[in-house]
């Protein structure tokens, strides 16, 4: 149903400066962000609250104007175009359904604003309600529906105007956990099918990985790292990204050989090679990122010994907090064949899966 346009969105060196509340200072909410989003891509802006992701979305939507830089849609500069003339549609965290209108009128709202004929409105609204699994609910009021249904209406309302870009502002954060997972996969399927360029804002890294073609991790208004979900998870470029995307252990190590991409390090008494987000030199002290599932516990006295401080059986996995000297590490056992559970206070050997090690600058 989205046949009329490409939808290449480009941000060129975009900044947004707000004055500080009660004071003379100012806040750089968005700091020289540049991005190119090809047609049909699902891109997620991910970061902690205050990182500038929502402001970036509001700049794209036109509810804020950039302090500097340009925003281009299909090669046209739209930086100062009012939001109602941008050919984008936004899905809000609060759904923002019009409470005084029926579901049908909510969905028809944008079409009426665009002066689409009465017959065509009926046709298009019925089709999109059908697509969203809301057939027959057109005469309901928003407050008579469940949270999941309301979110579907909000999505339908945005889809029906066939925007060039769909914007999502944390649309799932008001739903309960199970529904969130279900809606997540619905949004993903729909977007793949309709091939609409989409920009999605969330602070939930699992949601970001599940949905996105590409993730942009933001911190203090700047882009920290940009890439496919697996790239960001496996090859974070900073401690911030490693910490924010999933959970990470950081262990100190020393570089003992550099051969092109392959860096050799001494880690937990083993020599191993690992990838790095930068080019270290021989003898450098570095930090090694190891995901919890990359660490393993074994009753082996030859390995470096750790003490189990806490053990939690979670069904799909077993989580351990262990102490290695001053460091508290997290180890996740995911092998479903594992039957033994180590108990708290037990001393064990610690080892790792070499392929999962990734090197960051120390500190």
């Amino acid at each position: 149903m989205n046949g009329n346009q490409a939808g290449t969105l480009v941000l060129e060196d975009v900044s947004k400066i707000f004055p500080q509340r009660e004071g003379q200072g100012e806040v750089r909410a968005v700091d020289r962000v540049s991005l190119t989003i090809p047609p049909g891509e699902f891109l997620t802006l991910l970061g902690p609250s205050g990182c500038g992701k929502t402001t970036t979305l509001r700049l794209i939507s036109g509810f804020e104007m950039p302090s500097s830089g340009r925003i281009l849609l299909d090669d046209k500069d739209i930086s100062h175009r009012p939001p109602n003339k941008r050919d984008m549609a936004m899905v809000f965290q609060s759904y923002a359904l019009f409470p005084h209108m029926t579901v049908f009128n909510n969905v028809a709202y944008g079409l009426r604003a665009h002066h689409v004929s009465r017959g065509e409105i009926r046709q298009r609204v019925e089709r999109v309600l059908d697509l969203m699994g809301l057939k027959g609910l057109g005469e309901r009021r928003p407050h008579e529906m469940s949270g999941g249904q309301q979110q579907r209406v909000a999505l339908a309302r945005s889809l029906v105007v066939e925007p060039r870009v769909l914007l999502f502002d944390e649309p799932l954060s008001n739903l309960d956990a199970k529904l969130r997972v279900q809606m997540r996969s619905e949004i993903r399927n729909l977007q793949r099918r309709l091939h609409i360029t989409s920009v999605y804002v969330t602070h939930d890294q699992v949601e970001a990985m599940a949905l996105s073609d590409r993730i942009v991790v933001m911190n203090e208004g700047q882009i920290e790292q940009m890439g496919a979900p697996e790239e960001i998870y496996r090859r974070p470029i900073s401690r911030f990204v490693a910490d924010f995307i999933g959970r990470a252990n950081f262990l100190p190590a020393t570089v003992c050989a550099v051969e092109g991409e392959q860096i050799a390090i001494d880690l937990l008494g083993q020599r191993t090679t690992a990838t790095a987000s930068f080019t270290p030199r021989l003898g450098d002290s570095v930090a090694v990122v190891l995901r919890p599932e990359g660490l393993q516990l074994r009753p082996d006295p030859d390995l470096p010994q750790v003490t189990v401080e806490q053990a939690m059986y979670l069904g799909t996995s077993i989580e351990y907090f262990v102490r290695l000297g001053d460091e508290r590490l997290i180890v996740v056992e995911t092998d479903p064949r594992t039957e033994r559970i180590f108990h708290e206070g037990q001393s064990l050997g610690l080892t790792f899966i070499p392929e999962t090690a990734h090197i960051l600058p120390a500190g």
């Binding site: 549609a89 759904y95 359904l97 019009f98 409470p99 407050h143």
Partner: protein, 589 residues
């Protein structure tokens, strides 16, 4: 990375300075919004700011300065100032206490006749001035039906005691509404938490309920203080030898034709009024810990203990019956020849008001109020929308200036109108010659016999309430609703029409009702603006009371109340009371 970021701040300072200007200019991009803003600013400037400024200027003339020194040095005037403050404080204390009591009984105690108590507590809003005072005189004065008739005393009600009683009965509704709203917004979970931690009822009241309501109590106290010192009608009837500033101002204009003296006295009255307004606006509202917008998470727990319940019920019921008695007196007085002297039933007073000499005032007042009401309502919503939803330079100033319309005592506004609009404003342009921008609005040979100025005053006095209820309604509506509309391709005007207005309809309605009731019952602000060609009911009531024709005055009051009630009914049907918005706020998210 940090160093680099610091170095970037320098160029951004320039950007910020431009940003203010950019945001100011953004409003120009939307022509409708721009036109709306210009109209609003012009209106507020001409009808509120200019009169106040003119009044202050008048007091600062040489003659004014001299009077000023005389007044502050004279014991007579010092007594008047002292009287005003004394009366203000007493009424504020009594009215707040009464409002608190009734609100507490309404929200927190399980007693019968709640609905009746609530309605009676609201009646003073639509009561014409003089009604309560006159009825009180008949009941408790020297020949009072109760003081003399039942207790056999010749009580002198004129003065501070009578004034305090009458003003408290006239204005406690302000405190009642304010505190009732806050009490209902108090999260019952707080009570539950306190009980759970082992606190007794009395301890909860002392350590949770009252502290949370302190801003509401303080706010009510201040509002009542301002209302009391600004009131003119009651001191005129009840004051006797107890003179206050507002009556002295009235005498200066009506008796002595000395506008300068009135202006000087007005400035003395203006100072405490404005001070209280500023404190209320910038301090009380900031310290409020109760979020009135928040939805309570349960139903409040009601007191059921008989030792709490019945004494409180007795007091609240006594107040309710007292108010009923006052209005009963008005009603009875309008149907009898001379109540308490000749109790023969008659319709002659109504004949006077409806068919006779009084009918002109009834028609004029209603007409002018009907003209002012929609203008005030729409203007209030428009300013609320601009203030709550748009960013522009001077947003707070616009809000503040609009609120001055009610924060300033009515007499002061009236004098300002006399000063500004007594001459036509003209500008001389080359080639075209002299152009009249605004015709003469007050005094003899004024435009429409002064009716235009009266309508303006009605609007100015009503817009603040509409503004506040509009802002309150808007603050309950998620701004993303309007953003959703815009993001779907609708423009600003369409969004206002299709989304905002339907959602704030209840606020619009209450703005309209308030505007009509206020216009019909206002006296102090228009008392100097009426002309022989334009008669206003409240003014006529004063005449009748001053000439001892209580029956006519009561008939006016009864008819005025009826007109207001009918208007409320018509407005409620025409505008509709519910919007569905309240449902969303619960069902939404």
């Amino acid at each position: 990375m940090k160093v680099q970021r610091l170095s970037q701040i320098a160029p951004s300072i320039r950007l910020t300075r431009n940003r203010h200007i950019a945001e100011f200019w953004r409003i120009f991009q939307d022509p409708l919004l721009f036109v709306g803003l210009v109209l609003v600013v012009l209106f507020v400037g001409i009808t509120i700011i200019a009169p106040i400024v003119a009044m202050v200027q008048e007091s600062r003339t040489e003659q004014g300065q001299e009077l000023f020194e005389n007044y502050l040095g004279s014991p007579v005037y010092r007594t008047i100032i002292q009287n005003t403050m004394e009366m203000g404080l007493l009424v504020a204390a009594a009215g707040t206490a009464l409002g608190f009591l009734l609100a507490y009984v309404q929200v927190k105690v399980d007693v019968p006749f709640k609905r009746l108590m609530h309605i009676i507590a609201l009646v003073p809003v639509i009561a014409p001035p003089f009604a309560v005072a006159t009825a009180t005189l008949l009941l408790f004065g020297r020949n009072g039906m109760i003081s003399r008739g039942i207790f056999g005393v010749r009580y002198d009600i004129y003065g501070l005691d009578g004034l305090t009683l009458v003003l408290t009965l006239s204005y406690f509704t302000v405190a009642y509404m304010n505190l009732r709203g806050m009490m209902m917004a108090l999260d019952p979970a707080l009570d539950e938490a306190a009980t759970n931690l082992g606190a007794s009822r009395w301890r909860i009241f002392r350590s949770v309920t009252v502290p949370m309501l302190i801003p509401g109590i303080a706010g009510s106290f201040l509002l009542l203080f301002v209302e009391a010192i600004a009131d003119l009608g009651n001191p005129l009837v009840m004051g006797g030898n107890y003179e206050v500033l507002s009556t002295r101002i009235y005498v200066s204009i009506v008796g002595l034709y000395n506008t300068t003296a009135a202006a000087v006295l007005s400035v003395i009255l203006l100072v405490p009024s404005l001070l209280v307004f500023v404190v209320q606006r910038y301090w009380i509202s900031r310290t409020s810990v109760v979020s009135v917008t928040g939805k309570p998470s349960g139903t409040p727990h009601m007191h059921r203990h008989p030792l709490i319940r019945w004494p409180l019920f007795a007091v609240a019921m006594f107040v309710t019956l007292f108010v009923i008695m006052i209005y009963g007196t008005i009603f009875a007085g309008s149907f009898t020849k001379i109540l308490n002297v000749n109790n023969e039933l008659t319709l002659e007073h109504f004949d006077f008001v409806i068919n006779g000499y009084g009918s002109e005032a009834m028609k004029d007042t209603t007409q002018l109020s009907i003209i002012a009401t929609p203008i005030a309502g729409v203007l209030g919503m428009l300013i609320a929308f601009l203030v709550a939803r748009k960013k522009f330079l001077g947003r707070n100033a616009l809000d503040f200036a609009t609120m001055l319309g009610i924060a300033v005592p009515g007499t002061i506004l009236g004098i300002g109108y006399l000063l500004v609009f007594n001459e036509p404003s003209e500008i001389t342009l080359p080639l075209i010659g002299t152009v009249t921008v605004l015709p003469k609005l007050t005094g003899g040979r004024a435009l429409l016999g002064g009716a235009a100025a009266i309508v303006l005053v009605y609007i100015v006095r009503s817009v603040p309430a509409a503004l506040r209820s509009g802002v309150a309604a808007l603050s309950q509506i998620d701004p993303s609703l309007e953003e959703a509309s815009i993001s779907l391709g609708e423009d600003n005007f369409g969004t206002f029409r299709r989304v905002t207005l339907p959602l704030i309809r209840p606020a619009f309605l209450s703005g309209l009702i308030y505007a009509f009731a206020r216009s019909m019952t206002t006296i102090s602000a228009i008392i100097f603006l009426t002309t022989p060609r334009t008669k206003i009911m409240t003014q006529q009531i004063l005449n009748e009371v001053e000439n001892g024709r209580y029956g006519n005055a009561f008939a006016y009051c009864v008819i005025l109340i009826l007109i207001v009630l009918v208007a409320i009914g018509i407005l409620a049907v025409a505008v509709g009371t519910s919007s569905g918005a309240e449902k969303t706020m619960e069902g939404g998210a």
